[in-house]
């Protein structure tokens, strides 16, 4: 059983209150929560794409596999080129193998953390299968399940995601993370008009123990999906006030703008700015790819000469 502090930290992490987590003061190193807290803090940094700070947090000489893997993940995220990335991945692979051995040290919790962190890196590297293998689709670690579910959803297998969720329901009781998983599945399948997802985020926004702009963004996105564009716009604006330049919220805002939340011209401006500021965001990458495809396809049509009076 987690201590209440740790529970709270976990809750914040699950609901995406990363900023709050990074400002956390670590407990005494002798405290049993020390490692876990440190881990979550580091992961929060990583989630905010601030891998450097995460690395600074990491003790150099730790034997703890979970911290080691967090450091590796941070290195992976921070890596500038492919070789560095590959090196970090290798570290994680080694760690994953290490925890599988019988004589390996480390508690179950540490092992689970290693799997989740390694899985995260694998997914980022596009190694879906490896990630699934590492996480183990029969795992009883809810964080791993959350990862697996998102992986399945990303490859358009909501059926498998649903299956994981149903399986987890049996042992995970009504964990917050489980609710998040359910809401995530709802986000993709759109069951019952996204009602479950929408109420989940609304409920968590009312959660007094934390505030997270991520939740606002998520609800904004849900509202976009529910075609409630004006409401979505206000959510996203609020979210952007709390965290300027957050790519997730901005991306959603661009979409909302394109769907009529703002004037077409304004939407176009927003988009141009967003595309310039976040060239690696999947939205931008996708659109750019499509733009290239457009030219290619359009070229297949021969445009006859314009009919003019002189012709």
């Amino acid at each position: 059983m987690d201590s209440s502090e740790l529970y709270h930290i976990k809750q914040q992490f699950v609901l995406g209150a990363y900023k709050t987590l990074t400002q956390l003061t670590l407990p005494d190193p002798s405290s049993p929560d020390y490692t876990s807290t440190l881990l979550y803090k580091a992961r929060a940094y990583i989630a905010l794409h601030d891998a450097k700070s995460a690395l600074q947090l990491m003790p150099e000489d730790t034997e703890d596999v979970s911290l080691k893997s967090a450091a590796s993940l941070a290195r992976y995220v921070a890596a500038a080129d492919a070789t560095e990335k590959e090196a970090a991945l290798e570290e994680l692979r080694d760690l994953s193998v290490e925890i599988e051995g019988d004589e390996s040290e480390g508690s179950e919790r540490e092992k689970a953390a290693v799997r989740v962190l390694a899985g995260t890196a694998f997914v980022q590297a596009g190694e879906i299968e490896e990630a699934l293998e590492t996480l183990g689709t029969d795992t009883e670690d809810l964080e791993a399940v959350a990862l697996i579910v998102q992986i399945y959803l990303s490859i358009n297998r909501p059926d498998l995601a649903k299956k994981q969720f149903d399986r987890s329901k049996r042992w995970a009781e009504d964990d917050l993370l489980l609710q998040l998983i359910e809401s995530t599945i709802g986000l993709v399948t759109g069951k019952d008009g996204y009602s479950n997802t929408s109420s989940f985020y609304t409920e968590q926004l009312g959660n007094p123990s934390l505030s997270s702009p991520h939740l606002l963004t998520a609800r904004g996105v849900t509202r976009i999906l529910r075609n409630e564009i004006t409401e979505a716009k206000s959510d996203l604006e609020e979210s952007l006030q709390q965290q300027k330049g957050n790519s997730e919220a901005e991306a959603a805002y661009v979409v909302a703008a394109g769907l009529g939340a703002t004037k077409p011209l304004e939407a176009e401006e927003l988009w141009t700015r967003f595309a310039a500021e976040h060239p690696t965001h999947p939205l931008v990458e996708n659109v750019n790819q499509k733009a290239a495809a457009f030219d290619e396809f359009a070229a297949k049509f021969t445009v006859p000469p314009l009919a003019t009076a002189s012709a």
Binding site: D192, E248, F301, A311
Partner: protein, 1220 residues
């Protein structure tokens, strides 16, 4: 009562108590051996047994609304049981009686249990508090039965003391003293009796029986009591508010009467006794109607079902469940009317409007207790023939009145009767009557005189209509089709006794129904198929498309003419189908009330379409329903349609199997690549070899590294270059055998020798060299082997070898064996994205009229598109490579199919599913939706095909912004790449086959942009206006329409934008002319005049006219200026403008001439060529822009339209589809 139909019988120990379940087909039986059985009498199975009583159990009852059972036994105990299947157990026991408990009963609304006992008391228990709340004393002998009144607070009891007593228990309801606790819970002590008596009193004591009374009960509605006693008499008593008296007795039993019941619905009494009989009596006349005898067993107990026509009787060795009359109503369907008999009235029910009227009373026909058995209707004379089984079988022929009169006619007025077991109309004015005992069929005319007698060729039990001038005769082992005219058998089919016959609507097929079989035959019985059912078949009706829908005891099923059958839905109670129309089954329920059942005919429609090769319909079904899954794939495969099944399967393994089975090598190849297992490749190679497609064989061999076969294949196809490559490969692999083979195949002697040398077979190498005339080489080998010519003296010399590979006559390396072109598979074509032509429902013969009507509204658009496809097939070719393989997901729809196969490999091997964008593409024929899905190529094709758009580059920003706005990203889990979420326009829809992308631009927003353009026009910002109108037209290309109404608006908006764009362009041209060629006044004036001909709004038209007026006035074309001024006045402009206009008109009248001649004839309607800005007068040839419909001079056909700059002028286009 001529029939007592036994439904169910069981053998057991003596049955002393019986109780029906009010809703389920369950019957509880209390046995003398202490067991309580629970039977499902419909299925004939023992559901459960309750064995806690010690000694015989006599009393049993089931709660009328809750799942409770109460029993009372000789162990003095009353036990209450939970009846729910999962926890059948004894809930509690009520103790208090001091002797055998005889009967028990639940109260219909209070939580009371009534019991009576040999201890001479009747007790009432509260089943909630589990306390005895009343003890009724007064009987001076065993109390044999006690029953609550169905409505009032009364109890009737029967006792061995020869009395029947009625007790008033209204005091109990007002508040039991026991409940307050003062009386002492569980007051079982004799001392407590007085307290109880204060609120329950004997109301009447009925004396009259000479022996002990076994049973007494109240009439369900009338103030009557019936009692059964050991004096062999059943007595009927009547009671009023103040007294009760004996009314009559029924005598006939010749031993103790154990029980007597009022029939719950009819005026009948049912009794049973130790004389081994069950008897039925007329309540009004008190006469015996029917006796049912049993040889061995004395009857002990009777029970009636509370709602149905069902009874149960317990005897010495078991129980029987029976009904007293046939429930099957007599009916006949003619066109949209059902003629049927209910409660001895012939009624007509109109299927269309549901009107249901009584037309004819047949109360006096046959026994009043027996309903007519069959009804035959003759539309020509509105005649009906009814038969009834009473009186040994009689029939009656009557005419139905034209419509219902105030007083319903009775058939006895003019009915013509006769005896006969079966009677049916065989022609307009003839009917046939069967006399079973004499085996004679008489054909009679409408005056009931015999015109012909027929001796049937087989022992006939029943007659049916057999088509024109024919009869169907049913015998015990066969059915005979018999020609009345020729008096001869046409055909005979062996079959169990046929009970009902149903002809299909067109008279082409007939269903012959027996108890457990249905024979479907054509009209001359030359072909037929048989269906077996394990459960009783009740009725059937033909669907208009030739599918037979039938009902069994508990299902509605369908069967196709070739014998395929399956379940449509489950029934709680049997129904009698009368007619099937579309998705509705019309039927009569067991009390002969018309009902309808709606069902989903998709499955059988699909199978039927398959049988008839009606692919359009199959496709339509696939697209519009979610039915299809694994079962349908299995069905298709089993029925030998693997190529169709292929379109529905997603699982690669199954796809591979199917592709191999139907020889679709492309698909097989593709799936083999994904599966990539050696056995797959080798099977593929085998199949490809059979079909002569050696290229695929080659690939497959390559995949499995089957070098030997590969080499041989190259030899066979004569591809020498590849053989030499194989040689190199063999060398690289270090496989001398393979090298040898390859060099042999390739005719490469040197190569062969070198292999032989390499492996040290010098003698062979030497000889090979020698025989091929390579003497130098031979010498070299010899030397290498350390030998000289001398050493091999003894080797005989061989002649030169003629061994060489066969010469290639026709190189086939690049040819594959031709196979019959499968052409474009229908599915491939139809499934290619978007071109499903908006799912036009095929004219399904059985389609209900309303649906068809709705689809008419699908207007010409959809159909246009279809036609277009036919005339221009190659244009559809652009998307045919968009494989059919993609299709299956839409079919599989729900996850079920995937889930099943994925069970085993939930794990790492998860293959990606179908992207939602693919579903969007599949689900919509609209370009906008394809754009949103990112499928730009198909979107472009659609625009091109639907609206002739060619200049797509202009649309790029629009495409990208729509695509961008249709997807949003979110990562709920830390540090993972965000999920791409797809924004739908119907967020309440989550079925994969119906989801569609969000509509990024609404028609509304475009119309407001158009209004913006109008403002530019008013503000004289013509260049801006031109841009705006162009942008409006662009946006209109990618708007999502969802109704005819919107489609109309859309067209309107396009037209408006086009007119304005044209007008603005003309005006801009005029200004250009004025500036650049000021001397060209004529052109200037012409353009000004044309501008006024554009269909603009009044306000803008005024501007056009005013500018024309001033231009013309300036050029001194006063007459024209005056004309424009007149037109201006018609628009009711501002007073100031009116004044100016009048001046202009006056000027025109003063000087009615034009200085400059211009090409402008305002009196002939004309269109303006949007390229040259010259008029195209009505009747002159013109071409049009496929999108905006702007007109052009014919020479511009094939050019880009200059207005919107989007479409090719005069290109063929199908218009927008209407998918809603």
């Amino acid at each position: 009562m001529s029939v007592m139909l036994t439904k169910f019988e069981s053998k057991s120990n003596r049955v002393k108590g019986l109780a029906f379940h009010p809703t389920q087909p369950l019957l509880a039986a209390a046995l003398h051996n202490g067991s309580v059985q629970l039977w499902n009498y419909r299925m004939g199975v023992l559901v459960d047994r309750f064995e806690e009583h010690e000694g015989p159990v006599r009393g049993v009852a089931i709660h009328p609304s809750r799942a409770l059972l109460v029993t009372g036994g000789d162990d003095y105990k009353i036990k209450v049981w939970d009846l729910r299947p999962q926890n059948r157990r004894c809930l509690f026991t009520l103790s208090g009686h001091l002797d055998y408990v005889r009967t028990v009963q639940f109260h219909h609304e209070m939580p009371w249990i009534l019991s009576c006992s040999d201890d001479q008391t009747i007790r009432i228990w509260n089943s909630t508090s589990r306390q005895c709340i009343a003890v009724l004393t007064g009987h001076s002998h065993y109390v044999m039965s006690a029953q609550f009144h169905p409505k009032e607070d009364l109890v009737v009891s029967a006792s061995m003391d020869q009395t029947v007593r009625v007790w008033d228990i209204s005091g109990l309801r007002k508040g039991s003293p026991n409940a307050s606790g003062s009386g002492g819970p569980g007051g079982s002590g004799p001392g407590n009796f007085e307290t109880f008596d204060t609120f329950s009193t004997v109301k009447y004591v009925l004396e009259g029986h000479d022996r002990g009374v076994n049973y007494a009960m109240f009439h369900p509605t009338l103030p009557l009591i019936i009692s059964a006693a050991d004096d062999r008499v059943i007595k009927i008593w009547r009671m009023s508010e103040t007294k009760a008296w004996e009314v009559d007795s029924c005598r006939g039993h010749f031993n103790n009467v154990s029980s007597a019941l009022f029939h719950p619905k009819h005026e009948l009494i049912v009794s049973c006794g130790e004389d081994k009989t069950v008897r039925v009596w007329d309540l009004a006349k008190r006469t015996a109607i029917q006796t049912f005898r049993r040889e061995q067993d004395r009857f002990w107990v009777l029970a009636a079902h509370p709602n149905l026509n069902l009874f149960a009787a317990g005897h010495d060795s078991g129980l029987i469940v029976f009904k007293l009359e046939r429930e099957r109503p007599a009916f006949s369907v003619h066109q949209d009317t059902l003629y049927y008999v209910r409660d001895k009235y012939v009624r007509a029910y109109d299927f269309n409007n549901g009107s249901d009227i009584g037309l004819l009373s047949v109360r006096k026909f046959g026994s009043p207790y027996v309903p007519p058995r069959t009804l035959s209707f003759n539309p020509a004379e509105r005649g009906v023939i009814l038969t009834i089984s009473s009186d040994n079988g009689i029939f009656e022929l009557t005419k139905l009145p034209e419509q219902a009169q105030g007083e319903v006619k009775d058939s006895s007025v003019d009915g013509k009767k006769g005896s006969g077991q079966s009677a049916i109309f065989v022609a307009r004015n003839r009917f046939a009557v069967l006399n079973k005992t004499t085996q004679l069929i008489e054909v009679r005319d409408l005056s009931n005189s015999v015109v012909k007698s027929i001796k049937p060729p087989v022992q006939t039990n029943e007659l049916f209509y057999g088509g024109t001038a024919c009869l169907i005769l049913s015998s015990t082992t066969s059915v005979v089709l018999y020609d009345i005219q020729q008096q001869k058998t046409i055909a005979e089919i062996n079959s169990p006794p046929v009970k009902y016959v149903v002809w299909s609507g067109d008279g082409a097929l007939v269903a012959l129904m027996s108890k457990h079989t249905i024979t479907i035959a054509n009209k001359n019985f030359s072909t037929h198929s048989l269906i077996h059912e394990t459960i009783r078949i009740k009725s059937g009706a033909w669907d208009d498309s030739g599918v037979f829908i039938y009902s069994t005891l508990n299902h509605v099923k369908y069967c196709l003419s070739q014998g395929d059958h399956g379940v449509i839905c489950t029934l709680d109670n049997p129904v009698y189908l009368t007619r099937v129309k579309g998705k509705t089954v019309y039927c009569l329920d067991r009390s002969a009330r018309p009902r309808t059942i709606t069902f989903d005919p998709t499955e059988y429609r699909f199978k039927l379409a398959l049988l008839k090769n009606n692919y359009e319909e199959m496709l339509y079904i696939i697209r519009t329903s979610t039915l299809l899954g694994q079962s349908i794939i299995a069905y298709l495969q089993q029925k030998g349609f693997p190529e169709i099944a292929l379109h529905f399967v997603q699982d690669t393994n199954t796809r591979f199997e199917l592709a191999i089975e139907c020889g679709n090598l492309d698909v097989a190849m593709e799936t083999a690549k994904t599966i990539n297992r050696p056995e797959c490749w080798s099977r593929l190679a085998q199949q490809a070899l059979k079909q002569g497609n050696h290229k695929i064989v080659e690939k497959a061999y390559q995949q499995t590294k089957n070098f030997d076969k590969l080499s041989f294949l190259y030899l066979a196809t004569g591809s020498t270059d590849k053989l030499s490559k194989m040689q190199k490969i063999a060398e690289a692999r270090g496989d001398p055998m393979s090298r040898f083979h390859n060099s042999l195949y390739a005719g490469d002697v040197e190569g062969r020798i070198s292999v032989l040398r390499d492996v040290g077979l010098h003698p062979l190498a030497y000889l090979t060299a020698k025989t091929n005339g390579l003497d130098d080489l031979a010498a070299e080998i010899l030397e290498a082997a350390g030998l000289s010519e001398a050493d091999i003296d003894d080797v005989p010399t061989f002649g030169a070898s003629s061994l060489k590979p066969p010469p290639i006559i026709t190189p086939t390396a690049d040819l594959i064996w031709p196979s019959v072109s499968t052409g474009e598979n229908f599915f491939d074509r139809a499934l290619a994205s978007g071109s499903l032509e908006g799912g036009v429902e095929p004219a399904y013969v059985n389609g209900d009229a309303t649906a068809a009507g709705a689809h008419h509204a699908l207007d010409a658009w959809a159909r246009e598109e279809e036609i277009h496809d036919e005339i221009d097939p190659e244009e559809g070719g652009w998307e045919l490579d968009a494989d059919g393989a993609e299709f299956e997901a839409a079919v599989e729809g729900e996850e079920a199919a995937v889930v099943e196969e994925e069970d085993t490999e939930l794990g790492a091997g998860a293959t990606p599913g179908i992207n939602e964008t693919e579903l969007w593409v599949r689900n919509s024929p609209l370009a906008a939706d394809h754009v949103a899905a990112g499928s730009f190529d198909t979107a472009m094709q659609l625009l091109n095909r639907q609206l002739g758009i060619v200049n797509l580059a202009l649309l790029k920003p629009l495409f990208l912004s729509i695509y961008r706005s249709s997807h949003t990203y979110l990562s709920p889990v830390a540090s993972l790449p965000p999920l791409m979420l797809h924004v739908r326009r119907n967020p309440t829809e989550s079925s994969p086959s119906r989801i569609l992308p969000v509509a990024a631009r609404s028609l509304q927003s475009i119309r407001s942009e158009l209004a913006e353009g109008y403002r530019f026009v008013s503000g004289n910002k013509l260049a801006d206006a031109q841009t705006t109108f162009r942008s409006v037209l662009q946006a209109l290309l990618l708007v999502v329409l969802s109704s005819d109404d919107e489609a109309k608006q859309w067209r309107e908006t396009v037209t408006n934008a086009r007119e304005y764009l044209l007008g603005v362009s003309i005006e801009l041209e005029r200004r250009r002319v004025a500036e650049e060629e000021p001397e060209n006044v004529q052109r200037n004036l012409e353009l000004a005049a044309y501008f006024t001909q554009c269909r603009l709004q009044a306000a803008h038209l005024q501007i056009a006219l005013r500018s024309a007026i001033s231009a013309f006035a300036k050029a001194n074309n006063q007459a024209h200026a005056a004309r424009f001024a007149r037109r201006l006045l018609e628009l009711n402009p501002d007073p100031k403008i009116v004044a100016q206009a009048r001046q202009r008109i006056a000027a025109g009248e003063r000087n009615p001439r034009n200085a400059i001649e211009i090409s402008y004839d305002e009196f002939t309607p004309f269109e303006i060529c949007a390229a040259t800005y010259t008029p195209i007068y009505k009747g002159s040839p013109s071409v049009h822009c496929p999108f905006t419909d702007a007109s052009y001079l014919p020479q511009y056909k094939g050019n880009l339209d200059p207005l919107a700059q989007l479409a090719e002028i005069g290109a063929a286009a199908s218009g927008l589809p209407a998918p809603w």
